[in-house]
Symmetry: C2
Subunit: 332 residues, 2 copies
């Protein structure tokens, strides 16, 4: 699958890399990475769901980040997108543009991370490409999942009167990034490590997402920040939303961080990278959702409600608006 229009520049080492590190990750559909393309069988009454992300060294990860964690995060953010549609992950394709200076150890650790997550999430490599670059490492991953036809959960189904729920805990990754940038120096080492880990290694809700089919009216994964992603639901659903800051589920480490810097609490609602599921349900479905949550072992919390109108508000316990600095970045 390598196509190099200027063969003289191709490093034969690239091919050896692929053979050695990536070919073993290929499943039967990938045909051992020995054909022009890979075959994907579709089950009757099902649809495939596809998504892609790119990351660049020095922008989305640091050159000295552990390569296995870089690989896992790249895969997991895509699995999170599939989960947000209610889809079960199946396959992925990977293209890597790597600087020659990046040694075999880096690639080996990167591939080891992928292999570990393949087993964890039951996905397999279908194909891709490996090329050389004079610039920073640039990686792109396309994930493919499946969903029963009609069971996909879109962003556009939220209705006034719905309750708003979120999985897991919110703000950990934002705090973890802050710690990596030198913040929260007074926080206990154990909390610091936990928050950094949440930033480096998200846990896509791959079982909760599909379980919410037929229950959630609208769903998105929290990647740009809770309020920004909620904004996407509101925009495509033509509704408004209210989130109560005090209702946000915080981890023990996040609570400790907020205790140190109370002024930063509202930023937990705007920081990105949580990769939790944010979804709306009819209020009477609360018990069903609690049951599903218990079944898959992922906590869920009601954090607000959907109303008529437009826009997203963050409020305190008394219902007063809390001003937020920025609502994160926009998806397309």
């Amino acid at each position: 699958m390598v196509k190099n229009p200027a063969p003289a520049e191709a490093a034969p080492g690239e091919f050896e890399r692929i053979r050695r590190y990536f070919a073993p990750l290929a499943g039967p559909g990938g045909l051992g990475l020995t054909d022009d393309a890979a075959l994907v069988d579709c089950r009757a009454e099902h649809r495939l769901v596809v998504t892609a992300d790119a990351i660049v060294a020095g922008v989305h990860f640091l050159p000295d980040d552990p390569p296995d964690l870089v690989a896992k995060k790249l895969l997991r953010v895509n699995l999170s997108d599939l989960a947000a549609m209610g889809a079960r992950p199946l396959y992925y394709l990977l293209t890597t543009a790597l600087p020659p200076a990046l040694g075999a150890d880096w690639v080996a650790a990167f591939a080891r991370g992928l292999g570990e997550d393949q087993r964890l999430y039951g996905v397999e490599l279908l194909g891709g490409d490996s090329v050389s670059t004079p610039g920073p490492a640039s990686l792109s991953l396309t994930a493919i999942g499946e969903v029963a036809a009609g069971a996909e959960i879109r962003r556009s189904g939220a209705r006034p009167g719905d309750d708003l729920w979120v999985s897991g805990t919110i703000g950990d990754a934002h705090l973890g990034l802050g710690i990596l940038r030198g913040g929260y120096a007074q926080l206990a080492a154990e909390h610091r490590a936990a928050l950094i880990r949440r930033f480096q290694l998200p846990e896509p809700r791959v079982t909760l997402g599909p379980a919410l089919a037929g229950v959630a009216h609208a769903m998105i994964d929290v990647s740009d920040g809770l309020l920004a992603d909620l904004g996407h639901i509101c925009e495509t659903s033509h509704v408004a939303a209210v989130v109560e800051l005090g209702a946000l589920p915080l981890s023990g480490a996040a609570r400790a961080a907020v205790a140190l810097e109370p002024a930063g609490a509202s930023r937990l609602a705007t920081g990105g990278d949580d990769y939790e599921l944010l979804f709306t349900i009819a209020p009477e479905a609360a018990d069903i959702v609690r049951g599903l949550s218990a079944g898959v072992g992922v906590a869920v919390t009601r954090i607000g409600r959907i109303e008529g109108g437009d826009g997203v508000r963050l409020t305190d316990l008394a219902g007063r608006d809390i001003a937020v600095e920025r609502a994160g970045y926009r998806h397309f």
Copy 2:
């Protein structure tokens, strides 16, 4: 679909780029690029076929190459991979890592090229990602096609006794690259332009490929070089192949180039980037193939045969081996 773990580094311009240039390329399956992932319907008794390629500025294309041609070539090399499996192209996903210095004009021209090829090949954008990079532009494209279940054409089906055929003409792109690097200065301007164009803008055989289902025993697209790609067929099919140099179909421009430098003739069989289809058939299927060729308007030529054993030989008219310098690069 943008996931930026370090939001402070994200240029808001990226999102405007996506909205302005890429969102208009999205088809209904892409949900207007407003959901977490895109949906793909699978037809009953069909399989999807997926492939991905990456290209980097300064390695696979030059920073001052026309952006619309860069876009088209990236899309077309992937459509060629689908065609080589006998698949009909349907969709693609695109991730771009672009340096901020690359202006809106470049992106607009790049997107215009994609739009033109979408109409030409009947494919649509399903999703992707756009991020910023401090390095050279780095692009990755995943193409999705479909094939009737069982009609896919693998590399592994070649049998001793098969004849070996190729579509179109061979070696043009190799010569075009040579011209771009300063060679063939004496060649007529018209021939030079034609060969450069074949290098910059391959024509994937998207109708011939699927038409050969049930006829071709094995197929591959010529990307690394005719002999190298034939080697992949031989390796996976456990057969040998003989190609007669004089039988290779050459364009008028390539014949003129060979007349100027006869010693370069054998390099036409090793140069890459032709994106023609190389396939094997039973000798008695020749008339069927000629009929299909006429029906889709793509020339086909018998250039050799498959034998027992292993390895690929290039011979002259008298059947004597011609030594070749290198057999191109290996795929994975």
